[in-house]
Structure formats: C-alpha cells, structure tokens
Amino acid sequence: MKIVVCVKQVPDTAGGVKFNPDGTLDRGAMLTIMNPDDKAGLEAALRLKDQYGAEVTVVTMGLPKAEEVLREAMAMGADKGVLVTDRVLGGADTWATSTTIAGAIRNLDYDLIITGRQAIDGDTAQVGPQISEHLDIPVISYAQDIKIEGDSVIVERQYEDRYHVVKAKMPCLITALSELNEPRYMTPGGIFDAYKQEITVWGRADLKDVDDANLGLKGSPTKIAKASDKVRKGAGEKVSLDPDESVSYIVDKLKVKHVI
C-alpha cells in the first residue's frame, strides 16, 4: 500500500505571529511546528504502515525551510519526502494550494491520501477536500478512526454528537483530526537518518496538469482585506452570584448594551 500524507509547516503559537505588508503571514520570520492535525494524519499513516505494511510519502508545500517538517516526518518513520517550493506558488489561498498539491500528487502512486482536517494558521479545513476534487477521488473528512479492509478503508467520521462509519474504495482521501491519536516521538537515530536521505524538490515545472491561472497569489480568489495579531482584551468584570441572580444579571447587561 502506498500512502501520501500532506503536512504543513505552521507558526508555533508559542512564538509571536508576524505579517507581510500584504497581510499574508511572514513565515520565514516565525518559529514553526508541524500542523497538529497533519501530525495526527502522519501518525495514522505510520500506524497503518506498522499494521499492514505501507510506503509513506510526505508532501509539503512552502518555503525551502519547510523541508524541516519533512525531516521531522521521516524521523518519525515516513519513507520519502517531497517539497513543493517555487516563488510563483507563494501567497496561495486554499484553491491555489490544493491545485498545487494535487499537481504534485499526480506524479505519485497512491492508494490513500491523508491530510489534516485543518491548519492552525488558516483554519479553513478546505485544502484536503479540494485536493480530492482535483484528483476526482472520494473524500472522508474528520476521521477519528481508520481501518483497512481489502481495497477499502473504513473510517469513523466524527460529528458533533455521534460518528458515522463510512466505507470507501481506495484510492481515496481522508482528513484527520488531532484527536485521532497521540503522535509518536521521533527517535534520535531516526533524526540523523532523516538528514542523510534525499528529499525530492519540485517547482512549478514539475506540477502535472495545472494551469498557471490557478497558482500562487495571482491564482487565489481569496483577497485578504486586513490581518492583525490578536489584541489583548481588558480584564473584564468579575462578579460572584448564585445561578438565578447570574442569569438576570447577564440579561440586564445584554439589554443595556442593546444585544437583546
């Protein structure tokens, strides 16, 4: 079985957030981590590899320094890494990103593609399902459990108060939740091995069946009007009341502010 896992290098929320003048994130200037949902997706792929045997290829799109997440993935146990990087691909929204990644994946053999549900920077949850549309394969989002049965996957798809059990024939795409599992640590030896391996680097010219009109900032329908760091709120007002009094207190406050 061949599994492709899409991962994204995202700002570490422990560090500060920095913006470019055009409102996009200044990724080069921030501390970074592997996106948590993607890490869960990678762990799911590695568990399938442990259980059924599989070749796991990790794909990322980003600045050259995004290579770090591929090394990390390989130090956890992934077999190969593909970095898609090119100036013309920069500033991409979800549409341009999914177009790019689908263009890269068309060069690879796969039975299963796993992406994270969403990235902690954009929080759209759109890229995974869009990739499946581009590749014309089924998608099961919000996976909380994944099993393989013959040439199909059986996935528990999370809902607010229940889950659905969905079966799909491979090839298909699954988006993973960080609650899916507890990702494994790297190993010290795995880190040094990961840095000895070759990473495949692809640019615009290597993408298959994509149109320039759908790539990079120019190919992104999303326009960012304004972006800013979170502004600290004031301390607020603290009151200590019993439940009945609390309700009328809150209702009064909302009325005063014309919320209700």
Binding site: R71, Y185, M186, T187, P188, G189, I191
Partner: protein, 383 residues
C-alpha cells in the same frame, strides 16, 4: 570557528526537550518527594532509543555521536536531575565499557539489550574504603575452574537495585610495578540474580532522590570465566577510561540543572513583585542573572567541546575533567543563586529550584570529585 549546531543536533535537542517537558517534568517533584525510581519514564525512554544514543546501530543503539547523548542528559536534567543521571550512568558507565572493551559475544549478549533499553546498566567501582583512591579496592575475584568467585562489596551504586547488568571491578592478584607490589584490578560483567549477589541498604540522599543508590554485596558470587571484561589486570585503566566518558555525562547533568534553575529564575523575577516593581527590574537581579547566564554558556561550551573530543580523539581525559569541574561548580553556584533570587519561596519544596540546588551538589562529588578533576587537569599541565 562556527559555534552553531547542525540541524540534526537542533532537531534532536527539540525532541529531548519535548520529551522532558511532557513526560519527565510533571513527575520530577513526586520522584524527589517519594524517592521512587521513575520506572515508567525509563520504559518510555527505552522505547525511543534514549538508552542507547551513542551505541552503534548494529548493537541495537541509535548510532548518534556523544554530543547528541550529552544533549539528551542535559535536557532531561533541566527538569529532573534524577532522570538525567539514570541515563548517564547506564550509558556512560555500563554501555560504554562493554562497547569499548567487550568481546563480540559480550556485546551481543549484554550491549544489545542494554542499548535497546530492555536492560538497565550500572557500574561498581566505589567501595566504603575506596572512593577517590580507587586503588584501595578490597573486593576480590578468584578463579575457580571455569568461574570467577567474587567476594566484597560496592557502595553508592547508581541504578543500584534497578539495573540488570553491572560492570564490577575486583582485585585478581598482585603485580610488581616499579619494585613495589600493587593490586591487580580486573573488570567483570555481573548479571542481577546471580547467586551470591545481593543488595545492601538503600542510601537516603540529599538530592537525585529518585535515583536508586544501593550497596552491592558479593558473597561467593560465581560468575562465568567469560564474563571478565577486557584483559586481566587492565581493570584500573578500564575504570579510568570509562570515568572520562562518565564525566561528560555528569557535566551534562550539571549543565542541565544550571540551565533549568536559570530558566525558572528568569520566569520568577518577571512575576514576583516587591516595592511595587517586578524584582527583575532591580539591578542586583539583572546583574546576578547576567553572571548566571554567562557561566551557564561557558559551561555549555566546555561540555560540548568535551563531547566532541570523545567523538574525535582517542584521549579526552582533560577535556572531560575541565567540563565536569566547571559545569558542576557552575551548577552549584547557579542553583544557589536561583534559590536566593526566589527568596523564601526558593527554600520551599514546592519550587523546583529548591530541588535543583540539592541535586546539583552531587555533581561536584560523584564520578570524580572536583578535587580529582583538578588533579587530572593539573597533572596534564605539569607532565
């Protein structure tokens, strides 16, 4: 000269740091308070290969360099001195001599499970009457047929009761050296459970309280002839060479303790207010922190230099001695200052710096006291 770490080393540090923060730090206070050996943590570390970092892959290890290993002990010790010394004693004092002096059979039988963390290692040189004077050994080994018969005792043994494999030193005879009769010391590999091998009292210590420190007792303990490590009579050299490596481990532990105390103090002085200001706004605090940070960085450079010397040089005794001497004394000084800057709270066990100060003291004593390190360093200067 470039002082930047390679990307591999940076990533390895990030791994050790994440593990230490998530798995070790939450238990550090409890381990100290209850004096219970953190077995579950050791099992987690074993699974991740932390117990065989500098051991070649063909012997079950991770195949990394001594610097990676030093950084592991450093990061663990930043949050828990006990966990740091468990890894250090196991790796430097048990895996390393078997890796360096063991036969192929001994490596397969003992080093492979040690490096995989299936077994834990310890080292027995010190005796009640033989500390710094390691030649003052009393434990004897007599060959009887195909077996060595051990009699005597070892004290202050780290990983004492928790280990499975022990490198033990004993007198195997006398030799004439420069016209004087001297004890001939040899090294042996002893397995836990060997009849005649028992444990004495558990030591109640000032610091590293979760570390299992025991007396080992050998009473007509018979071990196979093949369990001699290295050549007969070469035990003293094996012990000294092993301790050179061990000192890099302890220097890393000391460095971690100093770094941990400094980090805690920086956070504390930003929060703690006196006279209407954070105490970090006072120049006394700032100057203390500046001195602490400078010494910590100097210690780190010496420790990393010694670790790199182990990777590239045949002899690195002086580098190891300097690293251990300086890092241990910096650990004691920085943790003491950390307690002082915490004021009354620093004296309370709820605050980590109190434990770190107690943990730091031993780094000036074990695996060669600071005085022994000065002897090694000055001995090389005046040779």
């Amino acid at each position: 000269m470039d002082f930047t770490l390679s990307k591999e080393h940076e990533m390895a540090r990030a791994l050790f740091k994440e593990f230490a923060e998530k798995e070790v730090k939450p238990l550090a206070q409890e381990v100290d308070e209850t004096e219970v050996f953190p077995r579950a943590t050791v099992e987690k570390m074993a699974k991740l290969g932390f117990l065989g970092i500098p051991v070649p892959k063909e012997y079950g290890g991770q195949g990394c360099d001594p610097l990676t290993y030093a950084m592991c002990v450093e990061e663990l010790s930043k949050v828990c001195g006990t966990t740091g010394v468990i890894v250090s004693a196991h790796t430097s004092l048990c895996c390393d001599p078997i890796m360096t002096y063991g036969t192929e059979e001994q490596k397969q039988k003992y080093l492979v499970p040690l490096a995989k963390g299936e077994k834990l290692g310890a080292f027995g040189l010190t005796e009640p009457g033989a500390g710094t004077d390691a030649q003052g050994q009393q434990t004897k080994a007599v060959l009887d047929g195909d077996e060595w018969v051990l009699n005597g005792s070892k004290c202050f043994i780290t990983n004492g009761k928790e280990a499975d494999v022990y490198v033990i030193f004993a007198i195997t005879g006398t030799v004439e050296k420069r016209g004087r009769m001297q004890k001939e010391i040899s090294a042996f590999i002893v397995e836990k459970g060997t009849p005649g091998f028992t444990f004495g009292t558990k030591e109640k210590k000032m610091g590293i309280r979760g570390s299992s420190t025991y007396e080992l007792i050998f009473t007509d303990c018979r071990i196979p002839k093949d369990n001699m490590l290295g050549q007969q009579g070469k035990g003293f050299n094996i012990a000294m060479h092993t301790l050179d490596g061990g000192r890099i481990g302890i220097a890393s532990q000391a460095l971690g303790l100093a770094e941990g105390a400094l980090e805690n103090t920086i956070a504390y002085v930003k929060e703690r207010k006196q006279f209407g200001r954070a105490i970090g706004a006072f120049q006394n605090t700032q100057f203390q922190l500046a001195d602490m940070a400078t010494k910590v960085e100097a210690a780190q450079l010496l420790v990393y230099k010694a670790a790199m010397a182990k990777a590239t040089q045949k002899v690195y005794s002086v580098e190891a001695a300097k690293a251990k001497l300086y890092a241990a004394e910096v650990a004691m000084e920085v943790t003491t200052k950390a307690v002082q800057l915490h004021g009354g709270y620093g004296y309370i066990r709820e605050y980590d710096v109190e434990r770190m100060m107690r943990d730091a003291k031993i780094t000036e004593i074990y695996e060669g006291t600071s005085e022994v390190q000065r002897m090694v360093i000055s001995g090389a200067l005046l040779k």
